[in-house]
Symmetry: D2
Subunit: 285 residues, 4 copies
């Protein structure tokens, strides 16, 4: 597996951005292995993800950020992020009682398909400790009540920091995180909502869907913001239902969509294929 | 094409309904060619659509309703409807300026796929008169303003009654009908809403979808009730979109879903495959 | 959970079948909780699945089969099967090296969603023994070569019989079973083929799909017959791909479809919702 | 609507292609409004579509091709095509008896959504002449028999040339064109096949799908080559079916997919979003 650098940028739309960026990489003998860009003409904003092979690249790895800042980012007013393919992100998983999303993530992780480290799983219930044990992962049981919520979040944050967690996956974690918590991890908390947002935001979406009589249900993987269920959407999918479906069969059918949607959203994040701008995402090809 | 009778019923769930209904048909020498039923256990309600060949059926056609009422409906507290396959429903189409749904309906009608008569098209704009002319159909241009709305609706109703219209299709008709109008045609006005309801009810759903950053858009065919965009859903479908899509491309992609969803909803209604109960639909197989 | 009886039948189409069957159940004080039927007019064949509550049913459980044979099956020339909801089927899983389907089945099993017993997992590779261990299930490593195949199948069959296995799931088992093996378990071996059959039957379907340049790939869950990849289809699903996809990304995207399709096919079988007739399936609602 | 130039290229993969191409456009004061590229690493081949505003572009329109050839195509061994947005392609439609695809194309054309000129419709049946008349388009009835086929094709080609046709749409034209005919219009004849290719190539795909018992049917829009139903695929879509479906309902459900898939394939071609390489297509975003 070759080492690559992954640069994601956005900046005001202007002539010659792609040329300048790719030219920069080639001048220092880098070989582009991925390039995708998008221009939002209504926002006059340019977005790009470029990845190049570091073998033979003439800027030492530890200096690349400085050179990019000087040569590219400053003159073109770029907001940017540089990652290296050998940096494996550290992912915490928060769960409550449903196991389907947790199993789906851990099965991929175990098969070497999801390139992350998982230092810990946190839950407000004991139910899924056995799943963590199956995969040999630390499990922290931190029950939450109205009165203890603030204190528990402090402990959660302590654990996350101690374990150098890069991002958090809420795999059907049935608690709402405080704004303070969310703001510590901007665009780094991924939630699965069990409806096709913005339809049926809030609690009990399958009951609401059944009551409304929709013919299709869905699930939404999104970054968490302080505005509940309103964060930037990463991935959505749906499945067809009929009048035969009860709330119980909706829950069951929904699980299959939830777990795939969440895992795809996590995969996109891990692959550095996502970019957030003004509460919307660019998902690179 | 053989003549058939189509019976749709719903009633309190109870033992032996299917047996009693099919037994009734067989006793009079009817041959069942279609049977579909559904029990909603949360409502303790039974739903059924049964269709039988009238050839050799021993109750004269004009007396069937009376016999059903006495032998089946009364003892089992059924709400029911009987139609004959030779009864071709008369459909009015309301349009504004977009032609895609109108063309889709008329193309099916013209190919003999949609078994209706179309006595008239009504519009608040002149734009689509040429389409009506292409298909040789009467077109009534009735512009609507706030002040004339009540008067115009009276004229619309007069035209509908004069033309013995059975049901109305709002094929992207951009006016809201009054409660009085809607109540004249309960479960007999079909609308296409250009979003995946209940997401983005109301005006400009594609703008709202673009602004929210959803990854999937949809369309909803539903019966019209006085509660705007909240009527019983007949059919929905969706299509995947990306960050590349603008409001304009959403509108364009949406048209393909809208026209197919509306035509399928109309087809289900024409085939007497729909049944409304408490703001939800049963769509028989 | 109430005890129910599940009757699946097919027979020549004739008047009054539904009436006779439901009448039979009611006469002995059974309460129908599920009924779905289908008539194939091109084959003049009738299919039905009916389920009734055994509480208060006046025929003793051990005599029901005899009474059905005499009163219903014999006079109507039915092919039929009777199961009781408390009969939990015993499922063997065959795997090779890919873990995604195995994990998906075991995650459902572990969550209590898949109502089976799993007495054993058989594999021609050692790779997935660790997964079996995670879930505390017996794992038999039986490597297969051309020369040992016959002998290995004998051992497999011995294990299956010893463990009273009712049906077998080939969860990406990359060996072809002999006709003799298949015939021991007619319509009781479920395979997942990693293409949208009949497209790309045989080996390396993702390579073939990539080479052909299709825009959609799929997976097929089917009963195994001696005619490779040609058995009755239970479930299929697809996903959209683009020219950006390589064989490797097709394999990865395919895994998500494969595991969901296989698990749905297994669920349908376990719920006794499937019925095979002339190499096709009826999948009851 | 601003005038743009659309350049599609493919060439051996090499460093700096995007930089060189966009640099070329900027040097002459062109403003890029669209850029999408793809690298096929297994073929070591680079593909790109770039579109730029011609206002202020400093190379006179009639000289652009020469400059591209000299400055870009020659040094980078490019295969390339340059089109201008004001060049409206001239499209011939071939039909037989089914009207659904024809109506869908003409409805879009009539609504100004499909930016083509339609100088003629050719058919081997008289049935759809009335549709051509509805839209005021010339209709040539050229019946085909085994004996007259060669002669008829000559007449068809004469008509196409006389009408300066750029590309041909086979909108359910039920005749096979000769290799000689196909070779006159390489990658410029678009066909709709009524199955999910490569499944059910050849005649009567819905009969074959029904007989095989698939759970999903589809349609395929592709460029025509001399190898029947094996040309480069532009667009595919599918719909779910059940055991209730007969060949007749498959035909009906299939029509909805066929017409949308064909129209999308035609739209992609008209927008110059397609590029063929080695029997596969790149479909630009």
């Amino acid at each position: 597996m070759r080492e690559t650098a992954i640069l994601r940028i956005h900046c005001p739309d202007q002539r010659g951005i792609v040329a300048k960026v790719t030219d920069f990489i080639h001048r220092y003998n880098g070989n582009v292995v991925y390039l995708d860009q998008h221009t939002d003409y209504s926002e006059d904003r340019f977005f790009m993800r470029v990845e190049w092979d570091l073998e033979g690249f003439e800027i030492p790895t530890e200096q690349i950020k400085d050179v990019i800042q000087e040569k590219l980012a400053w003159p073109m007013e770029m907001v940017w992020s540089l990652k290296f393919s050998h940096q494996v992100p550290r992912m915490a998983i928060f769960v409550s009682r449903s196991s389907h999303c947790l199993y789906d993530l851990l099965a991929r992780y175990s098969a070497g398909e999801l390139n992350v480290e998982i230092p810990l799983i946190i839950s407000n219930h004991k139910d899924l400790e056995k799943v963590a044990k199956q995969f040999g992962l630390p499990y922290y049981y931190l029950p939450v009540t109205k009165d203890t919520k603030e204190e528990v979040e402090k402990e959660q944050i302590r654990l996350l920091e101690e374990n150098k967690v890069d991002f958090i996956v809420l795999a059907r974690y049935m608690q709402i995180l405080s704004s303070e918590f969310n703001e510590l991890y901007p665009n780094r908390i991924i939630n699965i909502h069990h409806s096709f947002l913005p339809a049926f935001a809030g609690a009990k979406p399958y009951h609401a869907a059944h009551s409304r009589g929709v013919k299709i249900i869905g699930a939404t993987g999104h970054y968490v913001t302080s505005d509940l269920d309103a964060g930037p959407i990463i991935e959505q999918d749906v499945t067809r239902i009929t009048h035969h479906d009860t709330v119980q069969t909706l829950v069951q059918k929904g699980k299959d969509i939830e777990k795939i949607v969440l895992s795809k959203a996590v995969q996109a994040h891990v692959d550095r294929k996502t970019l957030v701008y003004k509460n919307k995402t660019i998902i690179f090809a």
